[in-house]
């Protein structure tokens, strides 16, 4: 007989990882704020592809309170996820440098951390420029000028930021964390990231609101000239050309003109949705199965208002903004009155949460209707609500042929593209069969696709993996050992 091990890979399931991460009462995150170069695929004046490296400041996640145990910084930063009944501590290490590796002169090289919408416990801010107990070397000429809303991390040092659940500091919702030091510069340089507070009850995203999966769509902007000048360590804002500095010093976004529009950290060129075996989401975000509830957490760290708009039938049932659910009637936390919209206004540093539940599987292009796009791409992404493919364990016939079989659940019926990949662990033997035809005798809502394949898959002891992918990005696989 067949012993099979199920490795069903529903991409949406990864979001549940955070639910399963235990009920520890304390959660610590270690972030290193550092200089990082983000590659952007642009085109030059002749239309030829060119990779532009944009200097930014980002957060790298560290395994411990040790700046040598960190990954590479990303923009937006790593997602911080915490339950409302946990204590949260975020330790920030300040490793900000200029392109030459020098100390950042701007804002005395300090940085800090806050979450808009959540009360920081033990907040020693605001921090002034003048000398203080925390900064005896401060500038005596600017005693009452604020530099930071919260306590700062000095260059080469850690600073701790805490939220205590017993004090009611954590409230379920979709948030953005960011630097609280001279945010006009530091946030735009890239010091921001997604934060999510989950209710204590599993599967809930707000009190009384349960979903099957949650996905993130995070918008941000880059004005490359600003990044370059801050990165060079230029001092002071002066957009007027100077001798030796013909472009002037644009060290603030006062004159602001984005050159790149990013969704989830990069500009997206809106090509045809084409899932691959390596990346079934292929430039999109994958939610729950099309007939289930997917929460889309929209966040924007862009300075200009962005407007995600559906291009298809997938409407957004907006249930919350800036982590405030639309509870109706007010005063209870049981039911929300969703506001169904095709386009959502997302001003700077705000969040909105929308539930999508499609009647149809597939990928829907979500565009920024504020038209954030350049030749490098823009704020376009595919929201993928996959079909629930059921992959049957491959079996061998007495004649030694392998039967690969999949059930689809799509309203698209026989128009749906289903591809098979059969593997025995030897890449040269991989068999990919595109557009496996539907079986007419099963026409209806449930569709079966099966195909008969010759060896080399049916020798005893062969470990065979059958993978199936729908044209909408749904991806499942099943592995058996032929006995």
């Amino acid at each position: 007989m067949i012993r099979h091990r199920l490795t069903r890979l529903a991409l949406s399931a990864c979001v549940f990882g955070v639910f399963a991460s235990g009920s520890a009462s304390a959660k610590d995150y270690f972030l290193k704020a550092e200089r990082v170069e983000i590659p952007v695929q642009d085109v030059d004046a002749n239309g030829a592809p060119v990779t532009v490296m944009v200097p930014m400041w980002g957060y790298a996640q560290c395994a411990a309170k040790d700046p040598n145990q960190c990954g590479t910084a990303t923009v937006p930063g790593p997602e911080i996820t915490v339950k409302e009944n946990e204590n949260l501590s975020v330790f920030v290490y300040n490793d900000l440098k200029t392109s030459a590796g020098d100390h950042v002169e701007l804002d005395a090289g300090r940085t800090s951390f806050t979450v808009a919408g959540l009360r920081l416990r033990l907040n020693y801010g605001p921090i002034f420029w003048g000398p203080s107990k925390f900064d005896p070397a401060g500038d005596p000429d600017q005693p009452r000028r604020v530099r930071s809303m919260t306590q700062e991390a000095r260059p080469g040092q850690w600073q701790r930021y805490s939220w205590l659940w017993k004090q009611g500091d954590l409230k379920p919702g979709t948030y953005i964390y960011h630097s609280a030091t001279h945010p006009a510069v530091q946030v735009q340089m890239g010091l921001y990231g997604p934060m999510t507070v989950l209710p204590a009850a599993a599967s809930e995203v707000y009190h009384g609101v349960s979903v099957d999966a949650a996905v993130d769509i995070f918008y941000s902007e880059i004005d490359a000239a600003f990044h370059a000048d801050v990165d060079k360590g230029l001092d002071g804002y002066n957009p007027i050309p100077q001798p030796g500095n013909p472009a002037g010093a644009r060290t603030s976004p006062l004159v602001y003109s984005p050159t790149y529009y990013l969704v989830n950290g990069k500009p997206q060129v809106d090509g045809v949705f084409a899932p691959t075996w390596d990346d079934p989401a292929s430039g999109g975000v994958t939610g729950a199965f099309y007939d289930r509830k997917t929460l889309v957490r929209f966040r924007s760290a862009a300075l200009r208002s962005r407007i995600p708009m559906t291009t298809g039938a997938t409407a957004f049932d907006v249930i919350a903004e800036t982590a405030e659910p639309y509870y109706a009637p007010p005063g209870q936390e049981v039911t929300v009155a969703a506001r169904r919209q095709n386009a959502i206004l997302l001003p700077a540093l705000t969040t909105k949460d929308a539930i999508v539940q499609g009647g149809k599987e597939g990928a829907t292009l979500i565009v920024d209707r504020a038209l954030g796009e350049t030749n490098a791409g823009g704020m376009n992404t595919f929201l993928v609500l996959p079909d629930k493919l059921q992959v049957y364990p491959p079996v061998c016939t007495p004649a030694g042929n392998l039967i690969a079989r999949v059930r689809t659940n799509s309203s698209l019926g026989d128009q749906q593209v289903i591809n098979f990949k059969i593997s025995n662990g030897t890449p040269a033997d991989d068999l990919i069969i595109n557009n496996v035809p539907a079986q007419a005798q099963f026409a209806g809502k449930w569709q079966y696709r099966s195909i008969l394949v010759n060896s080399p898959f049916c020798a005893p002891g062969t470990v065979v993996t059958l993978s199936a992918m729908s044209g909408s990005g749904g991806f499942h696989s099943d592995t058996v050992t032929i006995e």
Binding site: G47, G312, A313, Q341, N342, A343, A370, G372
Partner: protein
């Protein structure tokens, strides 16, 4: 310059006069399929030019129906009925243009099946060949009523700017125009036995002339497609510099309602000197009536739409009734505001009402206005009947005038004006400006006034000759393409 604008304004008024007295429709035409139960449309993309009210000419890409040889801006308003199987065939005639490229149409909120053409990011696209073999047909069931938009789904950041977008109106099941119901045109009806806060004892005559359900009945409906234009992008596209157009940080200098910059917005539909901008947006109503304001935002910037005269009660967003009880048709979650955000990619429906309730004086001058039944004291519950203006009116030497002042503060009345003043107010109506409250948008490339601005005229019930003044059903009215 001033002379030109005056003569334009005068033309506007004569056009409105035609609209009122000649029986022409005052609102915006929308295309219907003349075959009952059918909703098939052919749309062609062409390049063309529009003019702004400062005299400049702007290169555009636009859509049009077979009855027109020129593209139009905005795209043709399409009217279908709830439940219709809508079929729209798109042919791309951008061939020959320097930046010719594929194009497509999306219908946010509807489950569209596209056939023909080539695959694109959002939907299937038509290549610029002007060949029916490359056309794309979009079909969908208009499964919910409301105000929607349709627009290009290809190279959206440029093609939206270039003009490829318009309004789609889905009439609810059971919708009937008033004149199809064999009841008189809307006007207040005398019913002295009814005690009501409505100063005119207004008995709604709209029947099943509704936008969504019973809570959204209206007398007139008007369309406001809000757009903005950065002409530099258009010029780049015209000369074929698509890369330049795409990388430009768009900054609008023209702001339009229904494809026209104010004061061209005052002109009637289809005036011959604006051949690619067929839609006006002058709004007319009479006291006590309900105007459905269908707003479609297709620019790149937010436009705070501000209604003088009264608040606007928003009843739906993106074709979704603001209701706590789905299916009830009652917009109980609607809200009242004097400035409503026009958010690009969104539509909203508002109900606007105007009366003199609470003013404390009688807007009709007893001495000169015609006594009519509904104007009897018993029908006025707020005590304003016969109420006089509670201030001493200044004499003519102490007044300044505009073209819209009739010379009398009373509705439907005229007064003495110095030579050269007034003259733009045919019926003695009250004029209220409806406009973007982003004040910089009230210009045409820095020439004030203009931009995203039109007028509401509260008209009297009797015209200057004492005849009943009827605003034609108009508003958004049906027109066939063939």
């Amino acid at each position: 310059m001033a002379k030109i604008s005056i003569s334009k304004a005068a033309l506007a008024v004569s056009a409105v006069a035609l609209g009122v007295t000649g029986g022409a429709f005052a609102g915006v035409p929308g295309y219907v399929d003349p075959t009952p139960g059918s909703a098939n449309f052919d749309l062609t993309v062409d390049a063309g030019y529009i003019s702004a009210a400062d005299g400049s000419v702007i290169y555009m890409w636009g859509l049009h129906t077979p009855d027109r040889s020129l593209m139009q801006y905005p795209a043709p308003t399409l009217i279908v009925n709830e439940g219709d199987e809508v079929s729209i065939t798109l042919t791309n005639c951008l061939d020959g243009e320097a930046a010719a490229e594929n194009t497509s149409l999306i219908f946010p909120g509807f489950d569209v099946t596209a056939t023909g053409g080539v695959a694109g990011a959002a939907t299937r696209e038509a290549a610029p060949t002007c060949n029916a073999a490359d056309s794309v047909t979009y079909t969908f069931t208009a499964d919910h009523a409301g105000t929607f938009l349709y627009q290009s789904g290809t190279n959206i950041s440029v093609q939206s700017e270039m003009g490829l977008g318009g309004a789609l109106i889905v009439r609810p099941t059971g919708f009937l125009h008033r004149d199809e119901m064999d009841i008189p045109d809307a006007r207040p009806t005398a019913d002295p036995t009814v005690a009501t806060e409505d100063p005119f004892n207004y008995v709604p005559q709209s029947g099943n002339q509704i936008a969504y359900g019973t809570g959204t009945d209206f007398d007139y409906e008007y369309l406001y497609v809000l757009t903005d234009i950065d002409p530099d992008i258009h010029e780049m596209v015209r000369i074929g510099d698509m890369a330049g157009a795409k990388s430009r940080d768009g900054k609008a200098v023209y702001w339009m309602i229904n494809g026209r910059a104010g004061p061209d917005t005052f002109f009637a539909n289809d005036v011959p000197w604006l051949p690619t901008q067929p839609y006006g947006s002058m709004t007319q109503m009479q006291p006590g009536q309900k105007v459905l304001v269908r707003t479609v935002s297709l620019g790149r910037d937010l436009h705070p739409f501000h209604t003088h005269g009264n608040n606007l009660r928003v009843v739906a967003v993106d074709g979704n009734l603001l209701s706590s009880v789905p299916g009830s048709g009652i917009p109980d979650l609607g809200f009242s505001d004097f400035t409503v955000s026009g958010i690009p990619g969104q539509t909203f429906d508002g109900v606007f009402e105007w009366s003199d309730l609470g003013m404390g004086w009688d807007i009709f001058d007893e001495a000169t206005q015609h006594p009519v039944e509904w104007h009897e004291p018993s029908a006025r519950t707020d005590g304003t009947h016969g109420g006089v203006i509670p201030v001493s009116l200044p004499g003519i030497p102490d007044l300044t005038f505009g073209g819209f002042y009739s010379g009398s503060p009373y509705l439907g009345s005229f007064g003495q004006l110095p030579p050269g003043e007034g003259g733009l107010n045919l019926n003695g109506g009250f004029f209220y400006m409806w406009h973007s409250h982003n004040e910089k948008e009230l210009v045409n490339n820095d020439i004030f006034p203009g931009g995203m601005m039109t007028m509401l005229i509260v008209e009297p019930f009797l015209d200057g000759n004492g005849d009943q003044l009827v605003i034609p059903r108009g508003s958004i009215f049906e027109k066939t393409a063939n």
